[in-house]
Symmetry: C2
Subunit: 246 residues, 2 copies
């Protein structure tokens, strides 16, 4: 098959890309399943604008066909440590992380992200959306659970022209893929390594600081996201390329 024919036959997928480890692996999985990938990054007034730069690096390395960055000011609503509402907690134990919804929870974040991904999918004619949520090491967020993902997929098919056409014309339904949902962080790291993800360009930290070199950022090493990242590499037995401050 000539390359141009092969390219034309690919189904499009919208992939939510934060620039973190999970979404980088989610993007690699979407590509490995044969989708033409269109990355979508939401700039939501979070403290760590460095995420956007990380998302652009990941997208650049994975050959996405398009990468949209949409601005939305969730910080105006307040209510989360990730949008400036409180201090990012450090050095929490796994038990503390599992004990409840943390202050880093951003109200309705994944619902806002998925709604925008759905809008993007409809304008592209894509019927597949990828999100890198994870229910095991999910740090207590309600919108990372399998029942949440299933509810959004049901909503998406009721909400849209595409969903109506699936019912009335037998076209494919909209599918929400959460390929990491049942994986541990160690399994996510292993999967990413298999697919050639360059972990060095990803950023997980909730509280990043300037790199010693003055170029790029360092991970703090102590927030929930850093602790889960470290644990993931350690348990996977894969060398962690991350520059941690602590």
């Amino acid at each position: 098959m000539p390359p141009e024919h092969k390219a034309a036959a690919k189904a499009k997928a919208v992939v939510l890309l934060s620039g973190g480890l999970d979404s980088a692996v989610s993007l690699a999985i979407a590509a490995s399943e044969g989708f033409e990938t269109h990355a979508l990054t939401i700039r939501y007034g979070q403290r760590h604008q460095a995420e956007i730069a990380a998302a652009a690096r990941v997208a650049g390395q994975r050959g996405v066909v398009g990468h949209d960055v949409v601005d939305i000011d969730l910080a105006a609503f307040g209510g989360s440590a990730l949008t400036g509402g409180a201090e990012v907690p450090k050095d929490r134990s796994a038990a503390d992380m599992a004990a409840g919804i943390p202050v880093t929870y951003v109200p309705a974040r994944n619902t806002v992200f998925l709604a925008l991904a759905l809008a993007r999918a409809e304008t592209l004619g894509a019927r597949d959306i990828f999100i890198g949520v994870n229910a095991l090491d999910y740090s207590g967020y309600p919108d990372c659970r399998p029942e949440y993902v299933a509810a959004f997929e049901a909503l998406a098919n009721l909400a849209t022209k595409a969903g109506v056409e699936a019912t009335t014309e037998g076209k494919p339904r909209i599918r929400l893929h959460a390929p990491l949902i049942a994986l541990t962080k160690a399994e996510i790291v292993k999967k990413g390594a298999e697919l050639g993800v360059d972990f060095g360009v990803t950023l997980s930290c909730y509280d990043p600081r300037p790199a010693r070199s003055g170029k790029g950022v360092r991970h703090c090493g102590r927030c929930d996201a850093c602790l889960l990242r470290k644990k993931g590499f350690a348990e996977a037995g894969i060398a962690d390329p991350t520059d941690y401050e602590a």
Copy 2:
């Protein structure tokens, strides 16, 4: 009961307010049911920015406690006559309107709006959200149907800290109110008149033009929204204060 006590006892509700006739009536209903109303208007890159001014006029007249305007650039995605993707159709018959999803459909619009309303509700501690969607004279939009509203309410309770607390601590569930969903446009007009809605400050038109006076805007009188508005007043037997061009 002293007024300050009465005010403190009111439950908060987030009311999506476009500045159109329907959302103005939805806001009046929320207030009439005893809610402390917080209006939310989304500026989504639509052609009719005049809607935002109309929303501010409606909010100003109805004594809302807060009015947030959130910017989001859905126009960047393309795909709708309302965000610049095609001409707004004119002079369509009721049969044409009922025949399918029109070009004025904005991809996933209500899902994006409701996701933002949900984020706002969570930061406010509100568990009630009002949206003025209407399934009868709904001009063919899939995200105005009762099954869509039910699916979003289910999602909202899975998505949020508030929903988790409803399950684990017996607190009230998040409720999505769509008080106009089963009403005809004529019934909406009647309901609004009963509740003292000033229809003259609302704007329904998809294609508004400058008023002859040079102040404010005129309704085109020919787009789907204008045709439904005219029909509503006529069938309700209530004088239509709207300035139509045609």
